[in-house]
């Protein structure tokens, strides 16, 4: 899905838990997520802490979208 959209010239950042799959399939901007059932959250954290974590991941996604890339790149945040 990432590639079909990116093909049209719209940059896509893929936030996903299983980074190797994203790399194999061919996403160019990848931000690792937390866990499969809660990629942008962590139920063990207090609600406001959890939201901060989500904000951090999304900030990283913004960074990926504004970073020129020539090849596949993983934007780590932790």
């Amino acid at each position: 899905m990432v590639k079909e959209i990116e093909k049209t010239g719209i940059p896509v950042v893929h936030i996903c838990t299983v980074v190797p799959i994203s790399l194999t399939v061919g996403a160019n901007r990848i931000v690792p997520a937390v866990a499969i059932p809660h990629p942008l959250g962590n139920p063990d954290l207090a609600p406001d802490e959890e939201k901060k974590l989500r904000r951090k991941i999304v900030e990283q996604a913004f960074k990926a979208l504004t970073t020129p890339v020539t090849d596949q790149q993983v934007f780590e945040w932790n």
Partner: protein, 348 residues
């Protein structure tokens, strides 16, 4: 003197020197001895085998009269009482590939002798006939003849002598699945592979991933604060009740949902339709999959220009690559039409 193996060669009108497309409706005929590329095969095969006859058929005739042409060609091949048949190679010629594949497959099924042909990987004849025929990988045009002939001849000789052949060693496309008994059970083989991988040694997977074509990265956003961002997910986030009935696996559709007046996703309003992970966390707080709450915060802070008024969702659980491509290409069309500058796509 020992008896020579008898071979028959199947070629089309072009390689028989009759003509091109204008002669593609030539009916099948047989000629004793070698014709055209048969000479190269004769040289490569050596002394213990002989091409006793060549059967020629126009590509159009063969494909337009598939059943009868197949029968006629097979009867002509049979009269030579061959031990093996070579067809083509067809390179990337579609009709010729279909003919070579059909001839090779029929020869193996009806005459119970091996048949070898050659094709380029995208030849439609390959997908049709690869399960049965021995199809050697060739280049996409006749320029590859010089390389293809020795490989095909070597495979033919091995088959004639009853030697063991394999797709790797003999450069033919994998045929039907072959059952075998491994010495070690699957878990032990997997651990062996893992240990090799950890040591940085070469290992061979038993389940190769399909090849994916990569896409050129799109240019980065110049100014995030003016950009229109859209959210897309394969994590199955849908309005509560799943109004479009997106399936929990092998999704046959995607949904488009208006969020222009939505600030955050709650347990009461949204849920996941995904059947491939424990839905408890996503149902409790759908922002964990589709981070609308923090995007709205970023929007309020002026960090991003705007958020697209719809998000798109499907369930990425056993969904075929072809379907995923189809949905995404439709979604991309809509995003472009709506002037979206960048996409955040979340996957579980």
């Amino acid at each position: 003197m020992t008896k020579k193996f008898r071979l028959v060669h199947y070629i089309n009108q072009f390689y028989a020197g009759i003509g091109g497309e204008d002669k593609a409706d030539v009916k099948p005929f047989a000629k004793d001895g070698v014709v055209g590329p048969g000479m190269a095969f004769k040289n490569a095969l050596g002394d213990d085998s002989e091409i006793v006859g060549t059967v020629v058929c126009g590509d159009t005739y063969f494909n337009e009269n598939l059943e009868s042409a197949q029968k006629e060609v097979l009867a002509m091949i049979k009269q030579y009482e061959p031990d093996l048949v070579i067809a083509g190679p067809a390179f990337n010629a579609g009709r010729y590939g279909m003919a070579c594949g059909a001839v090779a497959t029929e020869v193996m099924a009806q005459l119970h002798i091996p048949a070898v042909t050659g094709m380029y990987e995208e030849n439609p004849g390959l997908d049709m006939y690869r399960k049965d025929a021995y199809i050697v990988a060739t280049r996409n045009s006749a320029i590859g003849m010089r390389k293809a002939v020795p490989v095909m001849a070597k495979l033919a000789l091995k088959l004639l002598h009853g030697e063991e052949v394999s797709p790797d060693a003999d450069h033919y496309f994998v045929r039907h699945r072959k059952n075998f008994t491994a010495e070690k059970r699957g878990s032990a083989r997997a651990v062996d592979m893992l240990v090799k991988k950890l040591k940085g040694e070469d290992f061979k997977t038993e389940y190769p991933m399909p090849a994916f074509d990569n896409v050129e990265p799109a240019p980065a956003l110049k100014d995030l604060s003016k950009a229109k961002i859209a959210l897309v997910t394969s994590g199955g986030i849908v309005p509560k009740g799943n109004p479009d009935h997106i399936e929990s696996s092998s999704a046959s559709k995607y949904g488009s949902y208006d969020i222009s007046d939505v600030k955050t996703l709650t347990e009461e309003t949204y849920e996941t339709a995904h059947g491939g992970y424990d839905p408890a966390y996503a149902n409790e707080n759908p922002n964990r999959v589709l981070p609308l709450d923090v995007i709205r915060d970023a929007q309020a802070a002026g960090e991003i220009g705007s958020l697209h008024d719809h998000f798109y969702a499907t369930v990425g659980n056993g969904t075929s690559v072809a379907n995923a491509k189809k949905y995404a290409s439709e979604i991309a069309e809509k995003l472009r039409a709506d002037g979206v500058d960048a996409v955040i796509l979340t996957s579980t």
